[in-house]
């Protein structure tokens, strides 16, 4: 197969395993491109991409923008904080206005789950979901799984523990879908208040003891406490959270094996993960960032590669 089965990347849920493998194989080639003296290819030179971010983002936005520029696309950036959205414009009006400027692809982050799905039904351009509310963040899950594949050779058969604020995390849901499609076993671990009620229905193991989760897994993906999405108190204090659910060197030293530590960023150092773990040789956090550009290049390239 040389082509994705979808025109939009809205979530991992509607990708097939073959789609994910194709994205990984294409990303392998882009990783090689990123290590050349001239890190740029002309594939998307006739394409204009709008990065439409209704929510704050640092690394995802930078990573997408870099990927687009490495593919020679023309890039326009939109941030809702400095736009007419503040004047009451609707989502579809905002995007249609951007599309009137002959934009071919839209990379969108939005605070509401399903916003990119809604757009994909109403506009012609390819849509890439860069995070919708607490729903999905497909490129993050792809780069996480790709980083596991790169480090260990294969995702199939691996035990991956996702630790932290699962309730508010779009990364967790996309990761669960992606890892399961690739044949990994998934466990979620966190305080009972930060785990969705019926998460077990997705076929994941549920654990509340970080020590047990770390003993079980080959890979620990530690997620950020999303304080900005928490309207009520889900745990007494950050100090207490860190004490019971933070991943630190002491916990890792108690294991009789070496595990891989991941974090999608941004890190709350000293809360969900300690610096002595985040900066240790077990951590592949910076490789995740590097792989993010290659994965996003692959997604953009494959979605654009449909005959005009």
């Amino acid at each position: 197969m040389e082509q994705l089965n979808t025109r939009h990347l809205l979530g991992i849920k509607n990708l097939s395993t073959e789609d994910i493998q194709l994205i990984f194989e294409t990303a392998d080639s882009f990783k090689e491109v990123l290590n050349r003296p001239i890190k740029k290819v002309p594939s998307l030179r006739d394409i204009t991409i709008a990065n439409v971010f209704f929510e704050n983002s640092t690394r995802t936005k930078l990573s997408f923008e870099l990927a687009e520029k490495r593919l020679s696309a023309d890039v326009i950036n939109f941030a809702s904080s400095s736009s007419s959205v503040k004047k009451g414009e609707t989502l579809i009006d905002t995007v249609n206005n951007i599309l009137a400027m002959k934009v071919d692809m839209v990379v969108m982050r939005h605070g509401s789950a399903g916003a990119p799905h809604f757009l994909s039904r109403h506009i012609k351009a390819n849509i890439i979901n860069a995070g919708d509310g607490t729903h999905e963040h497909p490129t993050q899950a792809l780069l996480d799984a790709y980083s596991i594949r790169e480090k260990t050779g294969s995702v199939a058969g691996k035990k991956v523990a996702i630790i932290g604020d699962i309730l508010h995390s779009r990364v967790a849901l996309s990761n669960i879908f992606c890892l399961q499609k690739l044949g990994a076993e998934v466990m979620v671990c966190g305080p009972i208040t930060l785990l969705p009620k019926f998460i077990g229905a997705l076929g994941v193991k549920v654990e509340h003891d970080v020590g047990k989760a770390l003993r079980w897994c080959d890979v620990a993906n530690v997620l950020r406490i999303q304080l900005e999405r928490q309207q009520i108190k889900y745990f007494p204090s950050l100090r207490e959270y860190s004490l019971y659910f933070g991943v630190n060197k002491k916990l890792l030293e108690q294991l009789d094996k070496e595990i891989i530590i991941m974090h999608p960023g941004p890190i709350n150092r000293g809360v969900e993960i300690n610096s002595d773990v985040a900066d240790s040789e077990h951590s592949i956090i910076l490789q995740q960032v590097e792989n993010g550009v290659a994965i996003r290049m692959a997604v953009l390239y494959l979605l654009a590669g449909i005959k005009l």
């Binding site: 040389e2 392998d28 080639s29 090689e32 001239i38 290819v41 590669g305 005959k307 005009l308």
Partner: protein
């Protein structure tokens, strides 16, 4: 299936040996020369040249594989995008003499893309083109090989098929067939 033989195993072997001797003539001790095989099929030709060169003169030529998929001019214009192959070049080509190697030269578009892709690895001093088969009168670009195995007259409806034993074929051979039967 209608097909006619262009080069059989013995002839192909002679052609590979001739390529080696021509390279030796033109590139002295190969101190400043690199071979780049165009992925996917030019790389197989490079492999043959490298192993024959070792037999003839015990020369260790620097070589790599170049994939030009991202530089093609038919992206978004084909029914199906091309599958990307590995690029494996562990050196820079800055000020080097580069010999691009492919199996069949047809429209010249792959070679154009390859020259574009190659520049990402530096500014070469000189670029030469080596092909096993040169399909005459079919070029879309002003591209001409410096070394060719055999020049052939072909129709648009025909396809040149290069078979290698290590790819599972019974013998090394080059055929011309109708496109439908490839």
């Amino acid at each position: 299936m209608q097909k006619r033989l262009v080069l059989d195993q013995a002839q192909l072997s002679i052609t590979i040996s001739r390529f080696c001797h021509q390279l030796i003539e033109n590139h002295d001790d190969f101190a400043n020369t690199v071979l780049l095989g165009l992925q996917p099929r030019g790389s197989l030709v490079v492999d043959r040249i490298i192993s024959r060169m070792l037999e003839i003169q015990n020369v260790n030529l620097q070589f790599g594989y170049l994939d030009a998929t991202f530089h093609r001019d038919d992206f978004r214009r084909r029914d199906l995008p091309l599958r990307v192959n590995e690029t494996k070049i562990d050196f820079l080509i800055e000020n080097k003499k580069v010999v691009l190697v492919d199996d069949v030269l047809y429209k010249g578009r792959s070679v154009r893309a390859a020259m574009d892709a190659m520049i990402a690895f530096g500014r070469p001093q000189k670029v030469e083109l080596m092909v096993l088969i040169d399909r005459k009168f079919t070029r879309d670009f002003p591209i001409k090989p410096d070394y060719h195995g055999r020049q052939v007259n072909t129709l648009e409806s025909e396809y040149v098929m290069v078979e290698w034993r290590n790819q599972g074929f019974p013998a090394d051979a080059i055929w011309i067939t109708e496109k439908e039967s490839k």
